[in-house]
Symmetry: C2
Subunit: 677 residues, 2 copies
């Protein structure tokens, strides 16, 4: 009989879990349907993530105030006194043994809450779920879809923003918040401990920017590729930096009695941890990526079985995360670099079908995980029980976040502009300042540990920062873009194809679009061969001559690029097939650079639209693989400019709803259609 009762309880609990998860699924479904409506109506003031948060908030309110489930007291009331808290506990109930697993510590004042709010507790996920299940696909997708060419072109600046910028921002915010905390202590607004390390930790977690909403609009409006690369690259890398930075700050533990004073050794140790964990995760991620590339390079017949290929790709990418976590590195960081390596090398070895499949798979996972996190964020504002909202801290945090971003962007941009030929203009700087949104990573870092008073206050404040930035900054992106006169082109679309008519509004929009983008000087700046950074050039040469031939079927055969003395080694590393396929298989990188030519614009040419239909038939020249890397680089850059000319002659979609819009998500397909027509 006792058994049956236990089974009934387990069943009841399972039902409840299913119902709770169902709430989230329905939330996501609702979000998708509304997003579709927004996309269909070209309503750009609210991104899907912002919408998911609003729905989450609504459901949170309902769960908190409208539903009261009488708690099953039997379920939770028991307490027993033991001397330690093992991970597994065996409980002896009149001769029967039951196994219990540790879920976590609960602060003493929550014990009553737990008994009261069975329902709210149920919809609260283990914070580690975010780190171990939801973040990895998001971060991997970011790495996998990083626009390769523009990323590498701006690599120096991106690294500067991501490393120097994040560390600077972290310390500025930390110092500023420490001032606030001191003030709060003075006027007695502080209800618990709040040390300098806590301030720094707060600085680290809110330094992780996540301009997903901004980038979505950039993508839709076809904003400048360099700006896109700078923002996206910075946000992706500073997530990684912030994760490692925050864990190094937590690891700062001076020895001796006073554990919250400055100590050089502990500081050095933290710094060592930062370097060790970051480089370890980086190495692991790159290593798994390279292994996958080598497998797909050597098992070429795997291309005949896209299912196996995709499964292998997925498993190898996942194993990066697990391996890093098992080794004590940071899985999320490893996954990011694994994604970048996969995009750069493995992607070229995959069959076209697998290329599509992997991209679509991670796109879907990213979409679901992201919206889930944001709707959970909305929900948790009402369902989390230990919120500590302190007005001074909140106002301080907003100021600090603003200040931190400003000190990150403006001085760094100034310094970078000293070295850059293709300067980061002031309107770009303002836009980057504006696009310092906080999102999934900040949330995941702040919810990870909400045990102490300081952490609870940080969590509550972080939620508000995320809400504000996503709604206000995300929603104002279009306005900000036009205010800053940053060139953007409303969705490029062969309208003639659909309507069969030439529409006057089309020409007008085109003209408006031109005016908007060319800017005051009327001449577009393009990076040319001579402007490309030395860093990029060195990297490109090494990559093109040695890495690509070893890891992919693209690039020149190794013995053409290695010195003569290395001939045997080159023959050994280059498969005979590489020579055979040399002509067929070309570098698919261009495929990854979605925004390359698309962004550029047909300036000063108002007769554009009349010859639009014909212009595309000329197609883009895709030659063989050049042996000389300089030549290849030149060609690649020239190729970009050539594309500019061809793609420039293109129509612009007017803002009415009567036309079926082209799929915004599937850039590539439009691309294909054009080359086919």
């Amino acid at each position: 009989l006792d058994n049956i009762v236990t089974e009934k309880k387990a069943e009841e609990s399972h039902r409840q879990d299913s119902a709770d998860l169902l709430v989230f699924i329905l939330l996501l479904t609702l979000t998708i349907l509304t997003i579709w409506l927004f996309k269909h109506r070209r309503f750009r003031f609210l991104h899907e993530t912002g919408l998911a948060m609003i729905y989450g908030l609504l459901v949170g309110v309902v769960l908190r105030y409208a539903i009261h489930v009488p708690s099953d007291m039997n379920n939770v009331t028991l307490s027993c006194n033991v001397n330690a808290s093992p991970a597994t506990l065996l409980v002896n109930v009149s001769g029967k043994f039951y196994e219990y697993t540790l879920k976590g510590e609960i602060s003493a004042n929550d014990v009553d809450d737990i008994q009261d709010n069975e329902m709210l507790r149920k919809v609260t996920f283990d914070p580690e779920v975010f780190f171990n299940i939801l973040l990895p696909p998001i971060i991997f997708h970011a790495g996998y879809s990083l626009k390769q060419r523009h990323f590498f072109r701006n690599l120096g600046s991106i690294l500067a923003y991501a490393f120097v910028g994040t560390v600077v921002s972290c310390f500025i915010i930390g110092l500023f918040m420490y001032g606030c905390v001191m003030l709060m202590k003075q006027i007695g607004h502080m209800g618990g401990d709040f040390f300098f390390t806590d301030c720094l930790f707060f600085g680290a977690i809110v330094s992780a920017t996540d301009p997903v909403t901004v980038l979505a609009i950039f993508n839709e409006l076809q904003v400048d590729a360099d700006l896109y690369a700078l923002l996206f690259g910075e946000s992706v890398l500073n997530d990684a930096v912030a994760v490692v930075l925050s864990s190094s700050i937590v690891a700062y533990q001076p020895e001796g009695d006073n554990t919250h004073t400055f100590e050089a050794m502990a500081m050095l140790k933290s710094f060592g941890i930062f370097l060790g964990v970051f480089s370890g995760s980086f190495a692991l991620g790159v290593a798994t990526g390279v292994v996958t590339a080598l497998i797909s390079f050597n098992f070429t017949k795997l291309r005949d079985f896209p299912l196996l290929e995709t499964a292998l790709f997925f498993l190898m990418s996942w194993s990066t995360f697990l391996l890093a976590e098992a080794c004590g590195f940071t899985g999320v960081v490893a996954v990011l670099f694994c994604g970048m390596t996969q995009a750069h090398y493995t992607f070229n070895n995959l069959s076209p079908e697998s290329q599509d499949r992997t991209k679509q798979l991670f796109e879907l996972l990213n979409f679901l995980a992201e919206n889930f996190i944001f709707s959970y964020m909305g929900l948790t504002l009402f369902t989390f029980h230990n919120h500590v909202f302190n007005p001074i801290f909140i106002v301080g945090a907003f100021l600090a976040v603003f200040l931190g971003r400003a000190v990150n962007i403006y001085p760094l941009s100034f310094l970078l502009n000293l070295g850059r030929r293709n300067k980061i203009s002031s309107n770009f700087q303002h836009m980057m300042m504006f696009a310092g949104l906080r999102g999934a990573m900040t949330f995941a870092l702040s919810i990870r540990d909400t045990a102490t008073y300081a952490r609870q206050m940080m969590f509550s404040t972080t939620l508000l920062v995320v809400f504000f930035t996503v709604w206000i900054c995300g929603g104002g992106t279009t306005q900000m873009l036009s205010c800053q006169k940053i060139r953007s082109c409303f969705l490029v679309c062969c309208r003639l194809k659909y309507s069969g008519l030439f529409n006057a509004s089309c020409l007008m929009m085109d003209f408006l679009c031109l005016r908007l983008q060319i800017g005051p000087d009327g001449v577009e700046r393009r990076s040319t061969k001579h402007e490309s950074a030395w860093f990029f050039r060195i990297w490109y040469n090494f990559d093109h001559n040695y890495l690509k031939p070893i890891l992919t079927h693209s690039g020149p055969p190794l013995n053409a690029t290695l010195p003569a003395c290395c001939g045997p080694l080159a023959r050994c590393l280059t498969s005979p097939q590489a020579y055979e396929n040399e002509e067929q298989l070309k570098d698919s990188d261009s495929d990854l650079i979605l925004n390359d030519g698309d962004i550029t614009l047909s300036y000063g040419d108002v007769t554009v639209s009349t010859d639009a239909a014909g212009a595309h038939t000329s197609g883009t020249p895709v030659g063989g693989v050049a042996v000389n890397s300089d030549e290849a680089l030149d060609r690649e850059l020239a190729f970009g400019d050539h594309e500019l000319v061809i793609r420039g002659t293109r129509l612009v979609l007017p803002m009415d709803d009567s036309e079926p819009p082209l799929p915004l998500d599937s850039h590539r397909h439009r691309h294909k259609n054009e080359t086919m027509s």
Copy 2:
């Protein structure tokens, strides 16, 4: 300091978890690479699932015997005496509260084991993982990829095998096993209780057949479509029947003292539960499918955003499972019928890109889940701690399984043949008998509860049954097919396209293939219009005239099929778009029927191969949508026959390895290529 220790422990535990999961991921990776090798070498004696089991066994042996991790005694030794076993336990450790969740009961003699085998315990998953995470995508995929036309053609027989057959098999096996148990009790081989309900439960769980290995070979060898539909349909539906049957048997609880005697009321109640749960799950699954179809029907512009469409499809399908579980029905069964409804209706409303995406997504999930389950099966033979291997029970079980299958197939086929025009021939019956493999569902049902002696014995025996059937029956499929002279055609392939040469071996293989398939009488039997079952005809008419127009963009407009008096209703239900699109959008069902014409054969025509290249250019006639359903049915059947003629003139791939094989998995693509050429 205490906090830090807890955190360290949690981190250690997380690392260990990551490492364990990594073992499985690497196992799957290894399996994939080996499968690829097998596929490449056309080695058909071992299917991927069989291989996954072997690798699982090897890793199990290593974990069990080669690795000894000294257990952290601190972790598990504590016991405390309380009076009940609540789902959540609060433990008061010197003023701090820790929350523990119930994992399950442990038999008293395992308490020492637990402390010994930390490592083995770690690689043991919660059995509910199989039911709630791994099985749903497998079952959904089965429903989604069910070959619609042949399935409905044989619906009566499939339902008979699935319902009557499974129940008969369950009782036969139960009775036989009860005899064995009696014998064991007589000779004192029984170490615990084993009631008749336990025997019936065993009968229910081993009645779920899973001929995944056989069907994979059928697919590769292009075996008869009716046989394929019979086997696949039966196995898919009998999984559902077995799940509900086993839960009804568990629910059999006579009142009063003697809980293991026969009682009519309890029996009726069990029967009621069976009917209620099955029909409830069925209704829920179909309902969610219909809702998804309606959404995709009405939100037609959703087609422009394949990502949103795919995400919506995925979420709606998942919510079926959760909804069913939350309502107390069986999620797995609901998911099956949801998948079938989605394939029949929603699939037609999706954009072509989403059709591909959803198919590929569920194909991948199915592949990963299936191989994971089978490798876990191998592993658990060594890592599970409470195996009870009883020779009499095992031998009895093998006999019972054989007997149960025989009593299921032969008498039922005899009865069905009385009503069928297109008889199920005796070699088909032998093949169905042979293909009664046990797989993932049987395993998941048996591992769900291993608390009692009886259940442990069942679990151990079930594992052996699965191993034997998957390896022996799965491996012998090719032999059995040729032994039973069942027509199968080695992979159809336009060899000329690849080699540019006409190969003598090609002709020879073709000839052999013909001989094999035409059989002794030399005339192929084809189902014609007159042979199609009345059940199928009624269903087809209703579906074609009323359901398809309401739920999809295919089929005739409703007001053409409804009586004149229902005119307003018809106009209301049919969107104006349906009329517009009437011509463009055709029923994509033919897409789902992969094996339709492909299986049929060019008999008596040995000059086949010479005109093969030209024959395909004629293409398949795809007309508009016929308003009269009889006409449509006729055309559809005739169309199948027409395809027979066209596709019959096709080359057969010889058995050498030098040629790059066409992707076996992507039938559809080959199909496309043919129509394009």
